[in-house]
């Protein structure tokens, strides 16, 4: 009678796995704050390519050497990559629910209403700290719009952007246009676009996936003096005349004026099309500056978004949040780290490495950024456009409502009636927002 060694071996392996994996890596929050160090956990998303993780690790290393103390305990930080913005949000919410909240996280500035219950308002901390006050006053006011709600400040700008108009100067010249003059209003876009569209090359491309709603918001802001939502995040205005006109303009670019390819254009391929010279102009985020700069083998310019009733762009990007379910000491430590990373020089460096706009006004006085913007003036345009910046759409039920809006935009691009699509979106969004009113 034979034994069954392999079954036994497998069972042994199973029990080994259970004990080995369970035992060794047990480093919960308790051990993090014990002793004389505070080791902060920082969830951060990567939205501009993998090399950024190296930059972040470099910051953490530099900060840990700094020896900043809170209550006599040394503060260190451990950055944790948490996917893109959506995945970061899921990770944060899961962690909070399981009592494993990180100390701080970078999440979309517009996700405020979704996590307001899990984070702290920062006003008390700022009021007791002159350095923090100075920092808050130095941020571009445009970037603070999405941080504030109900008279309180909930987050601190970190990786911020706006929409920009990119144009191919070589193609402008070929078409007999002045390469130093980008279109400044909607009519000029159409006029220029008609001259630029030829030989299978397009005048302009507007992406409609991923952050397409954001591009659309820019058009809607330009087309009137309102926004797509109320400041308290409880109302949306998707079916106003301005909003409908903006979407009609988008669709007319391809259907009526034939200067943009038909159909829904993908967020990630529009910059590729631009770099490959398939389109002469595109609307995209400032985050693309570095990518276009590194990969385009032609002269390109960036400009303010062409206006209609006014010049306007929404802001975008991610802010720091500090969490509620952690000891006060750790919250103070988190603030110390945020103050450190938001120093003008570091904000300048971050801007140069990523293409995001430096969040602090004094960053543009630093030698590094001055030198950089001299050799690459395009980076200044994004910053200058901030005076026309408006609040990015941020509401309760953010994820669902953005999806409703995005679906309406794509449906209209694919041939649905503009007015009906937006009326329907408005109706659905109102239904979702009812419980909050």
């Amino acid at each position: 009678m034979k034994k069954t060694p392999i079954v036994l071996a497998l069972l042994l392996l199973f029990s080994m796995l259970l004990s080995a994996c369970g035992g060794t890596d047990n480093k919960g929050d308790s051990s993090n704050s014990s002793g004389d160090t505070i080791n902060l956990t920082w969830y951060y998303p990567v939205n501009v390519g993998g090399e950024v993780t190296k930059v972040i690790d470099g910051y953490a290393e530099a900060f840990n050497k700094e020896g900043i103390e809170v209550n006599g305990k040394k503060v260190t930080v451990e950055p944790v990559y948490s996917g893109n913005y959506d995945e970061s949000m899921t990770k944060v919410q899961t962690a909070v629910k399981n009592g494993k909240a990180p100390d701080m996280a970078v999440l979309l500035s517009v996700d405020l209403f979704q996590i307001k219950d899990s984070i702290i308002a920062l006003d008390d901390m700022i009021n007791n700290d002159s350095e923090a006050q100075e920092m808050m006053e130095d941020f571009f006011p445009g970037f603070m719009l999405n941080s504030q709600a109900e008279g309180k400040t909930w987050s601190i700008p970190f990786q911020r952007s706006t929409v920009l108009l990119y144009y191919n100067k070589d193609m402008f010249e070929e078409a007999g246009l002045d390469p130093e003059k980008a279109p400044t209003n909607w009519d000029e876009v159409i006029e220029y676009g008609k001259q630029l569209t030829k030989d299978g090359k397009w005048g302009i491309e507007l992406p409609a996936t991923i952050s397409g709603y954001w591009i659309y918001q820019a058009l809607a802001l330009q087309n009137g003096d309102g926004n797509l939502m109320s400041d308290d995040g409880k109302d949306v205005y998707f079916n106003t005349e301005e909003a409908k006109g903006a979407l009609q303009y988008w669709i007319d670019l391809s259907k009526k004026h034939k200067i943009m390819p038909d159909g829904v254009l993908d967020w990630n391929t529009v910059p590729t099309d631009f770099i490959e010279g398939k389109t002469a102009m595109m609307l995209s985020t400032t985050g693309n500056l570095t990518n276009v700069k590194n990969n385009a083998n032609f002269e390109f310019g960036v400009a303010f978004l062409p206006g209609k009733e006014r010049l306007a762009t929404p802001t975008g990007g991610g802010n720091f949040y500090i969490f509620k379910d952690i000891p006060e000491e750790r919250q103070l430590a988190a603030m110390e780290f945020i103050k450190w990373i938001a120093q003008p020089e570091r904000a300048a460096e971050w801007s140069i490495d990523t293409g995001y706009i430096a969040t602090r006004q004094s960053s543009y006085e630093t030698p590094e950024l001055k030198e950089y913007t001299e050799s690459f003036p395009q980076a200044l345009t994004a910053m200058e456009q901030l005076e026309h910046a408006h609040k990015e759409i941020s509401v309760y039920e953010q994820g669902k409502i953005i999806k409703i809006l995005q679906d309406a935009i794509q449906a209209a691009i694919n041939g649905d009636d503009v007015s009906e699509a937006l009326d329907k979106a408005q109706e659905q969004a109102e239904e979702l927002l009812k419980p909050y009113q």
Binding site: D25, E51, K91
Partner: protein, 261 residues
């Protein structure tokens, strides 16, 4: 007629392989040079951006760990459903089948809270545990076990085998093609698992390859840098690709036997 079939298989095979060739081409192409060019710069950049060596090791441990435990659990459960009679057998089996239809993403919240209660947040074990039992594997193996003549089990009993020995000496050898087919599905599925490991772990020492890949593939603020993305993708798929080329024959014949396509 045979010729047409033959030709169309070749055409289909080429069509199917096109994305793969595309990835290889992009990974080796220098984006700044027009026309044809070869560079390994993309690979260096990708390799240096994340601890890929560590991620490789973790992925191997996770994938093999899950498969090892799954093989034990599905064998025992499949035998129970195939050969033993008990009250409520039908209902219990039905509940197992229903699990196949629930996407694991829906279970992230409940699973993570179990993991938190067990105190194993941020461990490799936390990544593996939810997959230790595979309803699909049980279903597959039960069908195979049912097809094995009962007389063989009786003969084993006559020889004095107990139950475990019967399973080991009679059922397991006869279901080998099914095991290989299931193993392939399990490994390739776990290899590409991303969201759950991302959410349940924090440290690089526990995270798999897919997390490294995501750093490149999800750069929606900067437009995709296809060269680096393709290079990182090749890192991730290479071991699976090699394994498949090496064991192609066994894989295909076991799929034929087990009847999965």
């Amino acid at each position: 007629m045979n010729r047409v079939i033959n030709l169309s298989t070749h055409v289909l095979a080429i069509l199917w392989a096109l994305p793969l060739f595309g990835i290889i081409y992009m990974a080796f192409k220098d984006t700044k040079v027009e026309g044809f060019s070869v560079t390994i710069h993309n690979f260096i950049e990708a390799w240096n951006s994340a601890p890929f060596a560590q991620y490789y090791l973790n992925t191997f441990i996770i994938v093999i760990g899950i498969l090892a435990v799954q093989l034990v659990t599905i064998t025992l459960a499949a035998y129970v459903f195939a050969r033993m009679n008990f009250v409520g057998q039908g209902i219990v089996f039905l509940l197992y089948l229903v699990q196949i239809m629930i996407p694991i993403e829906l279970l992230i919240f409940p699973n993570s809270s179990t993991i938190a209660q067990l105190g194993i947040y941020d461990t490799k074990l936390a990544i593996m545990i939810p997959y230790f039992i595979s309803a699909f594997g049980i279903f597959l193996l039960r069908q195979t076990f049912k097809g094995i003549p009962y007389e063989l089990e009786e003969a084993a009993k006559m020889e004095g085998c107990n139950r475990i020995q019967t399973i080991w000496h009679v059922y397991v050898p006869l279901a080998k093609p099914t095991y290989i087919a299931f193993g392939l599905i399990s490994v390739s599925g776990q290899w590409s698992n991303f969201l759950w490991p991302l959410i349940i772990t924090d440290s690089d020492s526990n995270r798999p390859l897919t997390v490294g890949l995501a750093m490149f593939a999800k750069a929606s603020d900067s437009g995709a840098q296809w060269g680096v993305v393709a290079a990182a993708t090749l890192f991730v798929i290479l071991p699976l690709l090699l394994a498949f080329f090496l064991f192609q024959r066994q894989f295909i014949s076991s799929f034929m036997h087990s009847g999965i396509k």
